[in-house]
Symmetry: C2
Amino acid sequence: MTLEMVATRAGVARQTVSNAINSPELLRPQTLERVRRAIEELNYRPHRAAQALRTRASRLIGYGIRPSTGRVTSPVLDEFLHAISDAADQAGYRVVLFSAPPDEELDRYQQLLDEQGADAFVLSGTDRGDRRQAWLHKKGVPFVAFGRTWTGRDVGDWVDIDGAAGTAAAVHHLASLGHRDIGFLGWPKGSGAGDDRARGWHDAMRTLGLPIRNRRVESPGDLAPATEAADRLLEAGATAVIAASDALAVGCYQALHRRGRTPGTDVAVVGFDDSPVATMLWPTLSSLAQPIEAVGRECMRLLLDRLNDVRRPAEHVLLAPHLIARDSI
Amino acid sequence: MTLEMVATRAGVARQTVSNAINSPELLRPQTLERVRRAIEELNYRPHRAAQALRTRASRLIGYGIRPSTGRVTSPVLDEFLHAISDAADQAGYRVVLFSAPPDEELDRYQQLLDEQGADAFVLSGTDRGDRRQAWLHKKGVPFVAFGRTWTGRDVGDWVDIDGAAGTAAAVHHLASLGHRDIGFLGWPKGSGAGDDRARGWHDAMRTLGLPIRNRRVESPGDLAPATEAADRLLEAGATAVIAASDALAVGCYQALHRRGRTPGTDVAVVGFDDSPVATMLWPTLSSLAQPIEAVGRECMRLLLDRLNDVRRPAEHVLLAPHLIARDSI
DNA sequence: GCTCCTCCTTGGAGCGTTCCAAAAACTGCT
DNA sequence: AGCAGTTTTTGGAACGCTCCAAGGAGGAGC
């Protein structure tokens, strides 16, 4: 099924059919109608490769998959892919996956560019020291990142979750319930997202005039250290705990258990990410849900804008998580 | 960067460079070397779209993303995508995502085929009543499914987890530890994978001459009903429980807690899927891990075979889960 | 009816690759 | 050196699309 066949059927030239699809305003309404009918009847669809060859645009968005780091595969990856794939489809683009092992990551991006296998990229799992942004920016390749690099000198567009706004919202919610002693169970300092979440708690506490000293503890995501860390908060008399992740919140559940106390009834607990665990715990865990769907949509919006105008100034979007209140509050 | 430029540099004809890449055995070693050096120096990579246009093969594997059904998005999706993407890359293929809302699912597959946006498909989340297999088979489109249709008359290749083997292995392991009263906490009858897992338990119990009557209970995946169901097993005196999923196993943890008993110490518990929750629970949950990485590799192996020979008989691969023993045993 | 102008439609060329058939370069042997 | 046979290299054509410049049709004005 080619343009030529549609043209023959409609009794027009090849190019006219092409115009009917790409610049319908050029055709006389009557001709347009005739061509459209032919397209419809033959169920014609343009050949992607031919279009790509001629227009030098693949209409493919590259997404480099990095090896999952242990078990800590982002619990939101599939939802995110879902969202960008949906949004891309609507715009006539599609998402193509490629493997990007850390040691040859940039080579893989280069390869895709060389063989024109993608017009643009979506990055995720960005963190300090991520070289991809600067590299793509220098090459003038359109891209958008889910996540900041936290270096202060981001190049290019990004969309991110406003972690600080999330934890701040949790503080305010807990304060409105009467809590004054709200602890924060975070990751060790140094991670961008972790520090951001801690800051939200810190600033909100100060704004409300609530005590901050010795109310913040740190732990990696594993259960045992998280439990110990949470225990220190409880020891200090916290009546509520905000955790930087659901995994950490589980540590807090453990610590409460050991003391024979019940999350929610005795001490309020709020997690972050609203991962599947949240509803598996008893009592069910309140958590700050990331609007991944919206992140995906925004990413694609920025990316399509960028494709239309490579030179426009960089745009940043911060989306606030929302608190899913469950039994643990 | 085109073939022509490489040819000029190497002092040969365009076609010779093409041969150097696709049929190196046709060239004199000395010429081959010269061409290879030119390719290397210029960092040449064939233009995908041009190749696709000429060979009528996009070297793209389609993966239709279905809207996530609530929160129950397969906890293994991203690992699976990872695996097939890796395997595809090795074979010079790439995975392209497209949205496939249920009501127009087949249309989307048709669209990709029409526009030659994919040469083959990988399906997942198959279940009874899935029309995709039959449809693709009738059209002669290469595809492979992760998961059976459980209809007894599967068409086409598939790879699946041997759920029965997994639960059977768990039974044997528990029996070797001295357990005789091993209960099964499953989903309501009717789901392919669920019945399969139940069968493995059932057959192994019978083989070992262990009691089966009243040792099997059913519940949907939600916490409350799972807890109730598990409680009935405990009431009946089970000393070990095998659950059809980690979510159900969490229900069992709850039931034990209510009775003041400890998983592992008092009653052994084994989950299924080895989801992230497993290590977040205390005591850590033993679980049957699905070899998703291997599933992805096998899927791609079958698919590439199929692309080479559309007519070969269908092949099926069953991969056994392996028991990750943790504190709950 | 003719010219001029505008708007619509058309054929030719080319994107970068591989297929194909034919030309050229080697072989070994007379 | 010349020839047949084989191996290696080559140019032309085509894949299906869109760009481009030019052709044709239709309408307004004289």
